[in-house]
Each structure stands twice: as structure tokens, then as C-alpha cells.
């Protein structure tokens, strides 16, 4: 058995999918540049008012109740992708017949989903869940199912052997719209059948075959078989690429964050529904905004901006630590990102895509140390980044260079240890890779002692140093009046330099000094930049 899902008035349905409140109204879709647009599609309510395909925008002014929309290829692509996802959630073998038509092979699905009548109802329900109204038909062969879905509204079931009887009442133009190679050929066939008085498929099916083949050739015989529902073929199985994306073009630019969040919420719901239909989660979210060029020629100052064909594109990518499928969390992360990195110009088009991944499977243990939930942690990190700034929260990685203080702040994504003992054992195994570090770490573990730490001043503080016989004897900090005094103990200097082949070469001389304080002493690290002879207080040993 084969099923067909057909979406009538597809351009209208693609628009109503993002504006469900229009479903109860008369909607007309125009194409072409205003004011020269023409009607290419309209829903049933608009059709009942007397509007016809091909009417111009000026002619539509006579109807006040009409809602006019411009045809959107992006939204039709999104609707088409959603249609394919819905079909694939039922059957792995589908045919992408047209942007608004999909055929499914139902062989072997009854034990999974139940009788074909239930499958048909579930298909219709699945389509309504993704905000598309569709006709669903089931028949013994795919072409009969296709004709039935195009000709009958709602859910249609054709039992085996009754194809000709059920399809007989359909008009001939349904057959020609479905199977003619182009509109010109369909018009010629329609004219021929009209001259012969053939209005219904029953009449075409009852014509004698030999005279029909003499007049119309093999193509006529093929059309007759289709009218009888007697063709047999296999599906041209289509494997759609796993692209989970939603796109919407806006009638007017968006300047507020709230309506943007409203649209993002709707798009994320669709993306997550499609991911969930395939038992997948999202590892990465990408948001692409097409911006309106600013009126005064100013372009937004954003690092993620591309300029293509007079369109300015603003892209933000959210890399998630673990695969997730939570619409509210995705929306919150995007909102926080937009607040921290605003696009800087009105938005005319929104594109959201997700990189699919298998959902995370974890099993918590009773004796594991406390660990933050990845979803909650990701949201917390985004909020903290909004407070302290991007790039100032995360885990730190030391860079493999001799330059002092070279490190990088990376996105914080800790890996949960299996057990406490295994984590400690791994640390012990790696401790001997670095001799000097391993020695102090081993001592710390065995004797549980402390290591002298350095507290840095960022940026280093300018200082005035008095030298005597080549060693510093007095310290005075220009930026901190409390850092000053006679130096009672000195160690150094230790010189280092590097990156001479690069433009940013460096050369420094370090001193460790002790200065008396109110109670005891304070240990400072002094640094002289040999390139400009300036002195700095780099930090304190604490």
C-alpha cells in the first residue's frame, strides 16, 4: 500500500504556517514586484469571494477582506522540508514527488502503526502538528494514491481493486495537473478531451484502447491506465540531506528584540519537532539574520557580518556542550546572545539551523562528586558572559610558549569523571610527564602542603625603581601609592626574550623583591621591559 500527502494551495499554506492566525481569513499570495504583482495562489475562503488566479494587485482592491502576502520561496522551502520530515517519521521509503507532494511506501508498517486507516489519520494529524493542512490518500499503487490526494480533500482510503470506481468521479484536469510534463502539454490534452466530451476520469477509462492508441499514441494509453488506477511502479526513493533549518522572510523589518524572540520561538519549535521526529538532538545552533542596510550608509559594527550582493548578513553560532533538545533553553541562549551581540540594524530575514547529533545518554552514579547539569550550566555561562563580557568567563588553557602569562580562555565544558578514584589515578599517571610540575604536585599530594602563588596586576603597574650597583633598592608605584618602600631583599635578575622572528618580540628582566609592610613584608615581582626600559610591578607572591 502507498500513501500520498498533498498540500493544496501550497504557497498559502507555507505562509500560514508562520502566521496561524490567518487560517480563518481570506489569504491571497502575490508574486512579482509591487505594484505589478499578480495572484499565484489563494486559499479556499479567498476563492469563495470570487478572486481568481492571475488577478492583479489593483484588481484586488475591490475586496477589503483580503489579506495580501508576497510569495516567499524561503518559507516554501521550510514547509517542504517539514513535509519530508513528517513523512520520514512514518516510513523510511518516501518519494519527493513535488514541493507539495510526498509519496510513502507503507509496506511492513501495519505491525508498527496499526491498520492503514489509523496510519492515514496519524499522517493527517502529523501534518497538522507542523501547521500544514494536507490531503492524505492511501491506495494500492502510488499513482492512484496521488490522484486521490489531489482530487479529494481530507483522508481518503481506496481498497484494492476499487481504484477505477473511486477515481472515476474526478475531473480530467486533476489527472493532467498531476502527470503532464508541463502546463502547455496539459492544456493541449485538456483541449482534446474537451472536444471529445471527456470530462471525468470514468469516461476516459471506458474508452476503447486500440482506437485511443491510434489517435493519442502511447501517451494516451498511459493516461487511460492512470485514470483506471491500474499503473504499477516503484517509488523513486529520496534520501533528503539532514538539514534542519527554518527560514522566514519578513514583510517589514524588525527593530525590536521581542518580536524577534517571538519568531525565533516559533522557528525553534519547528526545528526541534523535526529533530525529535528523527530521535535526534541539536549539537550546534546557527542564527543568520539578513539586515537592512542603514539609511545613512552606516554599517553595523559586528564581527560576524558578511556583505553579499548588497545584503548584510549577521551570523551567530552557538556551540552546545552536549546535544540538547529544549526549545526554551535555546530561545534563552539566543536572546542572551542577541543582547550581548546586537546586529545593529533592522532585520529583514531570519534563518535558524541546527546541526543534528545523537541525544546524550548518561547514567548518574551514587558515589560521583557533584557536577553541574550541562543545560543549566550553559545558561548560567551565557548569563555570566552578559555581565562580565564575552571572553571573560570559561576555563583557562596555558599556551605552549615561553612568553609570560600566555593563556587562552576557552568555553567551559568540563567532562564528568567516572569515579573519584579513576580521576585521581589519571592525574597521578600524567604527573610524571612534566618533571618540575610533577615534583611539586606529588609533594602537594603526599605532604598536602601549599605552593607559593603569584597574584597578578592586570595590567601591570608602572613603577619607578631606584637602582644601586645594579640592583633595585627602592620601589615606588605610580598607580598605587601603597606600593612603595625600601627593598630589603632582592633576587634576580632573570632574563628572558622571545618571538624575535615575529613582529611582537619581547624581552624582559624579572626581580623578586621584599618590601616591609605594616605587618611583616610584601613580596613583589618586578619586571623591566628591556625594549623600552620601563619598570612594572607585575604581581605579588601571596
Amino acid at each position: 500500500m502507498f500513501a500520498c500527502i498533498f498540500i493544496p494551495d501550497f504557497p498559502v499554506e507555507a505562509i500560514i504556517r508562520f502566521e496561524p492566525e490567518l487560517r480563518a481569513r481570506c489569504v491571497v499570495v502575490l508574486t512579482g514586484r509591487p505594484p505589478m504583482g499578480k495572484v499565484v495562489a489563494l486559499n479556499e475562503k479567498a476563492r469563495q469571494t470570487g478572486v481568481e488566479i492571475g488577478a492583479t494587485r489593483a484588481q484586488l482592491e475591490a475586496w477589503e477582506e483580503l489579506v495580501l502576502r508576497t510569495r516567499s520561496q524561503a518559507q516554501e522551502d521550510s514547509a517542504h522540508a517539514a513535509l519530508l520530515d513528517c513523512a520520514q517519521s512514518f516510513s523510511p521509503e518516501i518519494e519527493d514527488t513535488a514541493p507539495n507532494t510526498v509519496l510513502l511506501n507503507l509496506a511492513g508498517l501495519e505491525p508498527l502503526f496499526g491498520p492503514v486507516s489509523k496510519i492515514a489519520r496519524d499522517l493527517a494529524h502529523g501534518m497538522s502538528k507542523i501547521e500544514l493542512e494536507a490531503n492524505v490518500a492511501i491506495a494500492q499503487n502510488p499513482d492512484a494514491a496521488l490522484l486521490a490526494a489531489r482530487g479529494f480533500s481530507g483522508v481518503t482510503l481506496i481498497a484494492a481493486g476499487h481504484e477505477a470506481e473511486r477515481l472515476g468521479d474526478l475531473p480530467v484536469d486533476v489527472l493532467l495537473e498531476s502527470f503532464a510534463s508541463d502546463t502547455g502539454e496539459a492544456a493541449r490534452w485538456l483541449e482534446t478531451f474537451d472536444r471529445w466530451g471527456i470530462r471525468k476520469l470514468r469516461a476516459l477509462a471506458s474508452l476503447p484502447e486500440v482506437p485511443l492508441s491510434e489517435r493519442l499514441g502511447q501517451q494516451g494509453i498511459r493516461l487511460q491506465k492512470l485514470a483506471r488506477g491500474a499503473t504499477v511502479r516503484t517509488l523513486r526513493v529520496f534520501e533528503p540531506p539532514l538539514v534542519f533549518a527554518e527560514c522566514v522572510e519578513l514583510e517589514y523589518p524588525i527593530v525590536l528584540l521581542e518580536p524577534l524572540a517571538f519568531l525565533l520561538n516559533r522557528m525553534l519549535e519547528q526545528v526541534c519537532a523535526r529533530l525529535g521526529a528523527r530521535a535526534l538532538a541539536a549539537q550546534e545552533l546557527q542564527l543568520q539574520l539578513e539586515l537592512e542596510p542603514c539609511a545613512h550608509g552606516r554599517t553595523p559594527d559586528a564581527s560576524a557580518v558578511e556583505r553579499q550582493c548588497n545584503h548584510v548578513r549577521f551570523t551567530r553560532t552557538l556551540r552546545l556542550p552536549v546535544p540538547m533538545l529544549d526549545v526554551k533553553m535555546f530561545l534563552k541562549l539566543l536572546q542572551l546572545d542577541m543582547q550581548a551581540n546586537p546586529p545593529g540594524a533592522p532585520i529583514v530575514k531570519i534563518h535558524v539551523s541546527a546541526e543534528p547529533a545523537r541525544p546524550r545518554a548518561t547514567q548518574s552514579g551514587l558515589f560521583l562528586p557533584p557536577f553541574p547539569e550541562p543545560e543549566k550550566l550553559e545558561l548560567t555561562l551565557a548569563r555570566i558572559a552578559g555581565i562580565v563580557g564575552e571572553g571573560r568567563v570559561g576555563s583557562v588553557e596555558l599556551l605552549d610558549t615561553h612568553r609570560e602569562g600566555a593563556f587562552e580562555v576557552r568555553h567551559f565544558a568540563p567532562v564528568e569523571s567516572e569515579t573519584r578514584k579513576s580521576a585521581k589515578r589519571t592525574k597521578d599517571e600524567n604527573v610524571y610527564n612534566n618533571d618540575s610540575v610533577s615534583r611539586i604536585e606529588q609533594n602537594a599530594q603526599e605532604k598536602m602542603s601549599a605552593a607559593i602563588a603569584l597574584r597578578l596586576f592586570r595590567p601591570p603597574l608602572r613603577a619607578v625603581i631606584t637602582m644601586h650597583e645594579g640592583k633595585p633598592v627602592h620601589l615606588r608605584c605610580l598607580q598605587r601609592v601603597d606600593i612603595k618602600g625600601e627593598i630589603v631583599w632582592t633576587a634576580g635578575p632573570w632574563r628572558s626574550s622571545g618571538d624575535w622572528s615575529e613582529q611582537e618580540g619581547w624581552s624582559r628582566e624579572e626581580w623578586d623583591v621584599a618590601v616591609p609592610a605594616e605587618r611583616g613584608f610584601v613580596l613583589y615581582r618586578l619586571v623591566q621591559d628591556k625594549l623600552n626600559a620601563k619598570w612594572f610591578v607585575e604581581g605579588t607572591y601571596d
Partner: protein, 295 residues
Amino acid sequence: MSAFPVSTAAQGRPFIGAAEPLLKKLGSVPKLARVTPASRLEARPATEMVSSGIAALDGLTGGWPRGCLSEICGPASSGRTSVLLAALARSTQNGEVCALVDAGDALDPASAESAGVDLEKLLWVRCGKTVLRSQFPVLSSRGKQMDLCNLDGLEIAAERQGWELRLEQVLRVTDLLLQSNGFGIIVLDLGDIPVRNARQIPLASWFRFRRAIERTPTVLLVVEQHPIAGSCSSVLIKVSGKKLSAVSSQLSGNRPTHTELLDEVEIMAELLRSRLERKPVQSATSFRSHALWAG
């Protein structure tokens, strides 16, 4: 003559036999109906302690208590940062995730790694000046719509330096971290904040933090120059640097400076307050912190 009969069997426990009728009578009195017998009071579990990473400190306090706020106070070069990194090292080596809210942006990653801190498990929050720039015509529902024709007016560059901004960031970030849960240790490093600014943190904030970590396995550690959390902290330790040791003899004016090398610093730790059930045996101890390059 007693109003309450005492049975022969209960002669060895006359109070128990006499108490039952009394309790029944108390329960019938409306004003005393809410009196809960001591036997029904909820038993508070003993506070779980986590090692500080320094044997001497563990002997002094038993470690850092989970679900409590602890303070380490001391001036510069007193060993505060060494104690802080030792605690982080111990916790991260046990597989716990830790957070460091660095008000002064003073952390030296190399020192942290040499102290044994697993940097992949340490969340570092660097507080400091931030520039608020709004090029989005409207930020949020609370923001007013701005004039699209005058985009220059949209750039609100509010650059606030100073400790007030850092303190504000510390408090907001700490709230978020405490709500997030799952951290072994959260450290607030206020060591570089001037005392007068640190004392501006309202006591209500400390109460809120203490309340947030109660009954959680998180240790909240505050490093500062002077005690500021008041009665909200369960453990208060004061550290001070007592003696500096170098590889060669110290304070020798004739010895060349390049032969001197900082070896270790002796640190005195004094327990000023402990609200834990376990009473400490001693109130002060000393330990040494060693330099990375020491043999």
C-alpha cells in the same frame, strides 16, 4: 504527694512515667499545642568537611565545611592565594567542578597549574570594567524604542571603572553560580578589593549566599583582606606571612642577588571563628608554602 502515679516498674525511671500525662496535658492547652517534644526534633546531620589541601589547616579546622561560608583573610603576601589554590587543587583532583569569581582579575594560571589545579574543571570569571554598547535599536521590553534616524545616539558607552562595578559583578555572578548548583567549591577572591569597598557589600547578600548553599555540597570560600561576612561565615581564618626563606642566606648585603632564590614562606594561620559542632583542638598553626622552582 505527687499528682501523677508512679508505677513500680518505672521506679527506676520516675521522670519518664511522670512525663507522659504531663505531655498530654500540655497538648490540650491551645497555647502550648505547638510545643514539639525534643525527641521529635529533626536531627541535624554532622557537617561534611572537605580537605583544604594543607595538612596543617586540616588539623586546625578539619577542612572546609560543605554547605557553609568560610573566610580567609589576610594582607598581601600572607599566603591567602596559596591556601585558595590548595583548596581548588584538592577539589578538582577529586573530580569536582569549581568556580573562581576573580574580582581583581588576579589569577595567575601558571601558579594555579603548578599548585595542582585541574584547569579544565575550574571556571574562571574575570570581573572588571565592561563597556555597555547598544546598537540594537531596542534592547528589551523594558528599553524604550530609539530613534532609527539618529543611530549615533544609540551607542551608550557606559565605561565604569573602579571597584563598585567589580563588586556588583561579583554579587550578580555569585547569585547565578549558587542557583546553578553542582559546584564543589565556589571562591570569591576579593583579595585586591580595598577594605572600605569590600565592607560596602550588604550583610543581606552574605545571608542570601549562606542560605543558598545550605543543604548543598558546595563550599563557599571568600578571600579578603579583612573579615566582611560577619556572623554569616562558619569558619574564619586569618593568615599572615611570618618568615621568608631563600636558597642562600638572606639579607646578606654582600651576596650577589642572582644567587638568591625564593624558597619558601612560613605562614601563620589563626582560627578566629568556628561555628561548627566539632570544636577545634588548637586555635593557630603554621605551615610553609614552597616555590615551584624549589628543590
